[in-house]
Amino acid sequence: MTDVVQLEAIHKIYDSGEIPVHAVRGVTLTIRGGEFVAIMGASGSGKSTLMNLLGCLDRPSKGRYLLGGTDVSGLDRNQLADLRNQKLGFVFQGFNLLSRTTARENVELPMLYGRRHYSSREIHERALRSLDIVGLSNRADHFPSQLSGGQQQRVAIARALINEPQILLADEPTGNLDSKTSVEIMGVFQKLNEQGITIVMVTHELDIARYCRRNLIMRDGRLVSDVQVTDRLVATVEMQRLLAAEAEAKLTD
């Protein structure tokens, strides 16, 4: 598989305050196509900053960032917007869906901002296909307020997938979810990853990171650990175990 992401000695310094904050101090990292990476670290370790850099929401102060082989560190605001639109998919902790906008319309959103124009029928069909991937095609016309947290996050995943991005970025995607729903969402990610989609996610939960294939740990703006996950959890198995435990709890109750 080719290298999707190549970071070369990336630095990020915020100098808006009185004291410049050196949030990322020289991260060099390669992520290959089809990988499933978890970035972990305490708060203030720079993992969110690194995520913003990977997601082209922010530009590095120093260093080179190659996305799919092209250098993106020097692009302007609009070029970055186009990159986010075409090559990247975002999933946030707080779902970040537009309220009073149906699930389908939320999923369509990135296509509306694409530089290519599609017919509204094509947009419609692709949104439904994307919702189908996350198993929500029957909820297409529901508003976010009518969906559970897990369902909302699946809509967000469908939105991230609609432009067939090279990489799916998830910032604490299970942070707002209970443990069972978290497993459900990780199941969606694992399924997508098996289909060949590259996923990078930030989490601070160790057991969530165990669903991924590779774990990175950051501390003080540096990568301090980079290991392949050996005792990997499988969401479908974990889900069955949870259901069984629930059933047992009811029996003994």
């Binding site: 605001r77 917007a81 186009d82 986010r84 639109n85 869906l97 901002y113 939105r159």
Partner: protein, 402 residues
């Protein structure tokens, strides 16, 4: 983003806070309505003044005698008695573009008839007089050329005189007496009402000018000459030609006459009402600007409220320009819808005012087009700052906004 989608998103956002949108638009609604109502009422007043001036007759030029200077004491305009019937004839014969000429004699006298009496204005005129003044006969007919040539004792009377002297009977065919001379009434004029200066135009007895000279005034000099020009464009030329002709007829003596143009009077009167219209419109325009500030205020609130939404849009690939367009369109929709409702309200208000005051109301198309275009411009102007603020948001900051 496609334009149709931008409109859809904007409409949805406005519907979401419908009450707020309506209240915001209300500023523009009232502003536009006020501009249209004020301009319409102003135009109505102007047209009424114009109509009252037009009722004096169309394209009228008057020649008055000059001032009299006897032993160093100078009389006012018209005090000289130098205007003659020959002058009138010369104008009629020699000046091109003149449609009608009527030598005028004027006098106030007691009029007796039917055992009643009434002090009225006695006018000596030619047959063409009622045509020049756009007057019509209600009953009977106007005296004719022959009456003028032979100085017949006939008259036509105004409605007021008819009402005062013949309260119960038909005046046509009866006699009235001026200076004890009987005049046979051949016609009654239609009512013309009060003129621009407030005097009753129907309080009048018109006799042939020849009869007036011979029997009433008993002097050969005219009070004035009434001239109708063919078209308003020719007025200035004709006025000059008349001046030249009369000057020539006086063989180089000082000019003892003055030529006046009715248009000057009309222009002065309409200028006044025009000033009023502009003034009222300007005051109403201020309320439009206040309405625009209301839009700006609400758009700023809206941008702050929807910071997260903006962040999402930017994160999934919206350019700053897309966000700018979206908020700008929202502001424009607000102001244009306000403008459209304001037009309806303004037309309604001007109709109401016209009903209450009995004025003609002219809803001017230019005021409508102007007000709507102006309200759209206000949307752009006052919507731009909030929209630009939204477009320049940093996506990370915006997504983090609570």
């Amino acid at each position: 983003m496609r334009f149709i989608n931008v409109i859809k998103v904007a409409l949805r956002a406005l519907r979401r806070s419908a009450m707020r949108s309506v209240l915001t638009a209300l500023g523009i609604i009232i502003g536009v309505a006020a501009v249209i109502a004020m301009v319409s009422i102003g135009n109505g007043a102007k047209s009424q003044v114009e109509a009252s001036i037009a009722s004096l007759g169309q394209n009228i030029i008057s020649v008055f005698p000059g001032s009299n200077n006897s032993g160093g004491m100078r009389g006012g305009w018209g005090s000289a008695s130098t205007l003659t019937v020959e002058d009138a004839a010369a104008i009629s014969a020699e000046v091109a573009g003149v449609v009608a000429v009527s030598p005028e004699m004027r006098d106030r006298n007691q009029v007796l008839a039917n055992g009643l009496n009434w002090n009225s204005q006695i006018l000596g005129e030619d047959v063409s007089y009622i045509d020049i003044r756009l007057w019509t006969i209600a009953e009977g007919e106007m005296f004719n050329e022959l009456d003028v040539r032979s100085a017949t004792k006939v008259c036509v009377i105004g409605k007021t005189v008819a009402a005062q002297l013949f309260p119960d009977s038909d005046p046509v065919g009866q006699n009235l007496r001026i200076r004890n001379i009987p005049f046979r009434i051949v016609g009654v004029l239609n009512a013309k009402g009060f003129n621009f200066f407030g005097s009753d135009q129907d309080d009048i007895v018109i006799i042939p000018y020849t009869s007036h000279i011979k029997r009433i005034a008993r002097r050969p000099n005219l009070n004035s000459i009434l001239i109708q020009a063919q078209s308003p464009e020719q007025m200035a030329t004709i006025q000059q030609d008349i001046t030249d002709l009369l000057q020539q007829r006086r063989n180089g003596r000082d000019p003892d006459f003055t030529v006046r143009n009715q248009q000057e009077l009309a222009e002065a009167a309409t200028a006044t009402t025009k000033t009023m219209t502009v003034l009222l419109g300007a005051i109403a325009g201020v309320s439009l600007i206040v309405g625009g500030i209301g839009i700006m205020n609400i758009m700023l609130v809206s941008v702050t409220e929807r910071t997260r939404e903006i962040g999402i849009r930017l994160a999934v690939g919206a350019h700053g320009r897309d966000v700018l367009t979206q908020f700008l369109i929202e502001a424009i929709i607000l102001s244009v819808m306000g403008g459209a409702l304001g037009v309806l309200l303004g037309i309604g208000a001007s109709q109401l005012v016209s009903k209450l005051n009995g004025w003609p109301v002219l809803v001017s198309t230019s005021a409508i087009v102007g007000a709507v275009a102006f309200s759209a411009a206000i949307g752009v102007f006052f919507g731009f700052y909030p929209a630009r603020k939204a477009a320049q948001l940093d996506p990370i900051e915006a997504l983090r906004y609570e």
